[in-house]
Amino acid sequence: MEFKNPQEELERFRSRLAVAGGFVLVCFTLLFIRFVWLQVVQHDYYQTRAEDNRISLVPIVPNRGLILDRNGVVLARNYSAYTLEITPSKARDLEQIIDGLAAIIDIQPKDRKRFRKLLEESRNFESLPIRTRLTDEEVAKFIAHRFRFPGVDIKARLFRQYPGGAFASHMLGYIGRVNDRDLEKIEEKEQDANYRGTEHFGKTGLEQRYEFDLHGGTGFEQVEVDAGGRAVRTLARTAPVAGNNLTLTVDVELQRIAEQAFGDRKGALVAIEPATGGILALVAVPNYDPNLFVDGIDTQNWKELNESPDKPMVNRALNGAYPPGSTFKPFMALAALTLGKRRPEQQISDPGFFNFGGHHFRDDKKGGHGMVDMYKSIVHSCDTYYYMLANDMGIDNISSFMGQLGLGSRTGIDIDGESEGVLPSQEWKRKRFKKPEQQKWYAGETISIGIGQGYNAYTPIQLAQATAIVANNGVVFRPHLVKFITDTRTGNRTLIEPQPTRNLGLKAEHVEVIRNAMVGVNKEGTGARAFAGAEYVSAGKTGTAQVYSLKGAEYKAGTVKKELRDHALFIAFAPADAPTIALAVLVENGGFGAQAAAPIARQVLDYYLLGKRPKAPAPVDEAAVEEDEE
């Protein structure tokens, strides 16, 4: 056993105390180094983080720009309405609160569904609408019960509204809630910051194309928030800048008369001002009501719109591709003149068919038109003339000329998603088909191209554009809907290209031949019945596009199903000597162009040139025929 030595023991204890003291100093020094690191070296970083914590930028969504017609009539606007909103972070039991609200205010299951969807997508300190567009009565009712619902409030929000309802909707388009695809576009345009807080985005039509003009500049409020996201006070505010207004080239009255002229028929009409390319009316019927989409369309309406056999969601003016039928003939004639394949007075003999390698391409008129020159070929729509012409010209000559008129390519109208249509050529066929035997172009296929059948398929806007180019002596303007964009803050207007895009260099005397023949159509030809008694001189051409191949059988409108009936077409411009309007009309399954399409064109031209308003939709002239008997 060791002896106890108090002095030695005390010394050892004290040395241990010294060690402990040293340890304390080392640890405290470590802490101090840590504090210097955080508070001196990294101070700026943490200062920024603290500010980021504290200051929340609350976006103030700007008013969306208006869409106005050429005379200032409002086509799309915003209105302020009351919405009932819940801030989930302040509300205790959401289901219970919503049930309570439902007892005093009408809340549909679809409202609940939408709210739940918003809740999933949102951060919890945003307030989310449970009901939109409250009536004054509902607002009053809620206010009386407000004390029972903490976290629930009434807010005034702006809503997009299309006052015309189901009118011009394919042109205007609609806005809907921002989705992932929209977000990609926003990122592409580097507009992320400007779209903070924005809930809606243009989905189709002008609303889509001019989204970034209409949107405006988002304002911001710097708000000091606490850890729970509650706003404590406002530090600074940047006011939002309202979006730009769009003023269209469209005349809303003309648009209305054109739409009404269709009655309950399906089809499209495009009217263009030839001297500018400005679109005067862009009709695609049936329409849909774009207002349905603003808050998110409900499933029932969506189903109805999408499953309707009338396909109201299809923009027939831009996305419907139809064989042009006989409306193709004036363009063929112009091609023949330009390429020197025909002289105007040159006559052919029409026996009622064109024989190509033993196959008879029949003329609609039994026995034929006899001796036919260019004028007569257009006025009476002689098929044989064009069978022969097509054969003489060859497919590639035809397609290169038609291509210059804009057929088979996008016109560049300021609406996205325009279809190209089909401009047939050897090249096109090679690309279109896979099997080598299908890729070859057969000379026989050129024949029916001449009368606007075969592979030909063009959109109504392409036909209207081609008509306008002829009316404008070969000077091409890009068809466009927006005349100018107005900066709502400065009032500055940005005009949309009044400059021509190209000149086809057509000879004036050639165009004159075509013009003259088309005037003849409406005076003494297939359009004469529709334009009887018109107080202006108009140029036109009827057309009928086969939907259904009869394989030699006689076509009788009454015997085929409605959806297999021919499409009626009509192109026109007026006044013939100085055209202010050129148009193309298509009536789906309307029968002969002269029966269904020409009367619509008459109503439109009557209003545009004379201010005459029709009393009823355009009549169907059952007595009119495609090729009159002279």
């Binding site: 056993m1 060791e2 106890k4 108090p6 002095q7 023991e9 050892r12 204890f13 004290r14 241990r16 105390l17 402990a20 003291g21 304390v24 100093l25 640890c27 405290f28 470590l30 802490l31 101090f32 840590r34 504090f35 210097v36 955080l38 508070q39 001196v40 990294q42 101070h43 970083y45 943490y46 200062q47 983080r49 603290a50 500010e51 914590n53 504290r54 000091e224 928030v225 606490d226 850890a227 729970g228 404590v232």
Partner: protein, 369 residues
């Protein structure tokens, strides 16, 4: 009535009242309390009155303990330890569960947290134990001391209450260290501990593991487990050299700092008073510890020395672990900032410690051998 006599009586009374109180220790503790009142007035003004009441109670307890001679304390060592162990067992069997841990014992009239008692009972018992083995303690003695220490530590860690378990373990360890456990064994234990770390990892609860993971990468889970550390380091860092000023800390006032009146009160202080304030706080703690170690160095008996040294180092452990976790260099364990955090229990425990130091100082070696 002779006014001089009355005054003398009062003076006499006051003198008797303050006699056992150590001036320097009281001054340092008083400054820390003053600072605590200031921070509480910013972090949670509505709790200021309650905390002042806690301070008053703690000071009375300190004064009472300061008067108890070390010999009396030594007699209490074994009974207090046994009661503590029994209560811990009772907690394990019948304790109330709160926030996922079984820490509280419902005594009918009050809820007690027996683990708190062990922070003082542990060094008291071990100091007593080594006092009994006045001869050079042998390895066997250290082994027995270790068993006495690990029993309550294990019971507390099981609750689970890692923070208190660490404090009790540290308190006991300091006694063993001051009793002179050889450096060879200490180093051996450190090596063994490092080797056993993976095993210990498996024994930890998920939430304890998460805290350690969070320490190394708080940004991994910024809204969950890492939120506390991220927000407290932002508060400290944004405080800069001189701080944002009293009640002007945005992290504190806008409630970004969690638990800002209890375990994370240091972040509030540091944001508002900056590096300068931290230096003052560290200085006060260093002075408190220095004074405690000085008292230990001059204590009369082995028991007193060991107890004074261990109690002093408890203050260090509290301060270091708390500031370390709030500034993000130690895992988050529930350890308050000594004398500053809100809460009566810890405050009373700490002032019992100060009272013990005062008592030991009052009975120090008067003659230098």
């Amino acid at each position: 009535m002779n006014p001089g006599l009355g005054l003398g009586m009062i003076r006499n009374l006051v003198q008797r009242l303050i006699a056992p109180i150590d001036g320097p220790l009281m001054a340092i503790a008083g400054l820390l309390l003053l600072l605590a009142v200031g921070v509480m007035g910013s972090a949670s003004p509505e709790r200021l009155n309650a905390q002042l009441l806690n301070v008053a109670v703690a000071l009375v307890v300190m004064r009472v303990v300061a008067q108890v001679p070390p010999q009396r304390l030594m007699h209490l060592a074994v009974p207090v330890y046994l009661v503590g162990i029994l209560l811990l067992i009772a907690v394990a069997l019948f304790g109330d569960v709160s926030k996922g841990a079984r820490r509280w014992l419902n005594l009918g009239f009050m809820r007690a947290q027996p683990s708190e008692l062990m922070k003082i009972a542990m060094p008291l018992l071990l100091a007593w134990y080594f006092q009994q083995r006045e001869a050079m303690p042998r390895l066997r003695d250290y082994a027995i001391a270790a068993v006495l220490l690990l029993l309550p530590v294990a019971l507390i860690a099981r609750q689970p209450d890692l923070g208190t378990a660490i404090l009790v373990l540290a308190a006991g360890f300091y006694v063993i260290f001051f009793a002179g456990l050889s450096w060879k064994i200490l180093v051996g234990m450190a090596v063994a501990a490092a080797a056993a770390a993976p095993l210990a990892w498996n024994l930890l609860h998920d939430y304890q593991r998460n805290r350690i993971i969070t320490l190394f990468d708080p940004e991994k889970d910024p809204l969950g487990k890492g939120f506390h550390i991220i927000q407290s380091t932002i508060a400290i860092g944004s405080g800069g050299i001189f701080g944002k000023g009293w009640r002007a800390g945005t992290q504190a006032q806008l409630e970004f700092i969690p638990e800002r009146h209890t375990d994370f009160i240091f972040a509030v202080f540091s944001e508002e008073f900056g590096l300068f304030g931290n230096l003052v706080l560290l200085g006060l703690y260093a002075m408190l510890i220095g004074r405690g170690l000085m008292i230990a160095a001059n204590a009369a008996t082995l028991f007193s020395r060991l107890l004074a040294g261990a109690v002093t180092m408890i203050f260090f452990t509290y301060a270091f672990v708390n500031m370390g976790m709030v500034s993000g260099i130690l895992p988050v364990v529930g350890v308050p900032l000594p004398l500053v955090s809100y809460g009566g229990t810890a405050l009373v425990t700490l002032f019992i410690g100060i009272g013990i130091l005062m008592s030991i100082h009052g009975n120090r070696m008067l003659v230098q051998k």
